[in-house]
Subunit: 246 residues, 2 copies
DNA sequence: ACCTGAACACCGTTCAAGT
DNA sequence: ACCTGAACACCGTTCAAGT
């Protein structure tokens, strides 16, 4: 909910400025947030340095004074989105909860972000990571730091904390990415809709099983499925923790 | 191994043609395969309609007679890569193996694809799915059909087959995508290398836990980790199957 | 210090014209 | 039927010039 304040209609937030090009009108944060809402509303291809510039009432080339090109803009937006996790209760100050509650909140906090920004979430998995040497690699080292230090302070050995990071991160990414692309494709189609009528039709001759199971396959249990899977993973982690260093 | 025959050096397969622009020189498959190797070797941004055209010794605009634009080109390449699974033993003719062996082979077959094409694999998760109504959505319906029909023929109920599809697909995607971005970032950097010397350095003041665990975090256990996780998932599926319809 | 405007080197795609 | 070439409407980015 925190970041959405900047994602509303472009009506009110223009007020405090003296004009579209008033002094102080441009800074990195304002650029990033405007880019974020364009991405949310219109998708990847609509986010253009030139359009973003004119959108902010400024010569497009002025952006380069605050942001290191388009690539850097995307990285900045991705980090901005992930930053919302910082204010999630139980992650902000993890010392108040046990490790399994921490994992639970982290999982659901991350899921909320993926739901809020389905068009952007794939970037979290796809952007070049801040620490490429990390296996698996990750953007936002602060998140990994928080993750590991929380587990260690709860009695995990170094080894089991690392194993947990690996199990948990790939689980989370897989689940949320699939959910996000489902939602992204759904809310997509600003102009593009390749098969408007064939949508949802399955050729029963080619794919008999698929066709007969169609009803079951299209029901959306994602909330329930996610929670089940999260529980499974936490169970696995419990086993990891119990066997400690080996 | 099957598709690599076309992805190798451009020495032998050029023979039957009379010249770079000889008649019949251009067809959809040749375009897709050339695009695939460019993507593998030079990454996303290097794949340009214009460059692909001249690369094939043809006016770039000729491509549009065989491929519906760049977006369609990417979809075609993604499908081409996934098609390699069709020849994987145990998936080609699944009736010869049990369900757990099938899942095992499917998992490892998919992993091989992700390893072979780390720059392309993210597209599998990211391209608009062929069946958006499917939860989770998926490209290549044939794969889902094969998956479900195999399970059903091994005695899975409809319900447990669907549940298995959900558990398995998100597991597989998460693991392989993280591995692929690791490899992709590694083999990337054709020109771009933002932090050549800071690479691998962690600020111990900012991230003390990360810094102290560095050695353990950078070891690559991915083969072992994948196999372990695959085993876990197959165990979960066993439980799903046993409890049948509910 | 920050913004501007022209310029450069590209893109994807359409379409009339060729063969 | 297939390929070509010019054209259109865009891109990201650099850089000298303004204020």
């Amino acid at each position: 909910m925190a970041s959405d304040s900047a994602a509303g209609e472009p009506s009110a937030p223009r007020e405090p400025r003296e004009g579209p090009t008033g002094r102080g009108a441009l800074d990195r944060d304002r650029i990033l947030r405007r880019g974020l809402t364009i991405l949310d509303e219109q998708g990847m291809r609509a986010l253009t340095m030139r359009k973003l510039g004119t959108d902010l009432g400024v010569d497009p080339m002025a952006l380069y004074h605050h942001v290191p090109g388009r690539e850097g803009l995307l990285d900045g937006i991705t980090d901005l989105v992930l930053d919302d996790l910082r204010t999630t209760p139980g992650i902000e100050i993890p010392s108040t909860v046990g490790w399994s509650e921490y994992l639970h909140r982290l999982g659901h906090g991350m899921r909320e972000i993926a739901q809020r920004h389905p068009r952007i979430f794939p970037l979290v998995a796809t952007r070049p990571p801040e620490a490429p040497w990390l296996r698996p690699p990750m953007r936002s080292l602060w998140l990994v730091e928080s993750f590991l230090s929380t587990l260690v302070s709860r009695g995990f050995t170094e080894r089991s904390a690392i194993a947990t990071y690996r199990v948990f991160s790939s689980f989370l990414l897989g689940h949320l990415l699939l959910e996000a692309t489902a939602r992204g494709a759904e809310s997509a189609a600003p102009i593009e809709e390749p098969h408007p009528q064939s949508a949802g039709h399955v050729d029963a001759a080619l794919y008999p099983t698929l066709a007969s199971m169609r009803d079951g396959l299209q029901v959306d249990h994602s909330e329930q499925d996610f929670d089940d899977a999260l529980g499974q993973i936490i169970g696995q982690v419990e086993a990891l923790r119990a066997q400690g260093d080996r």
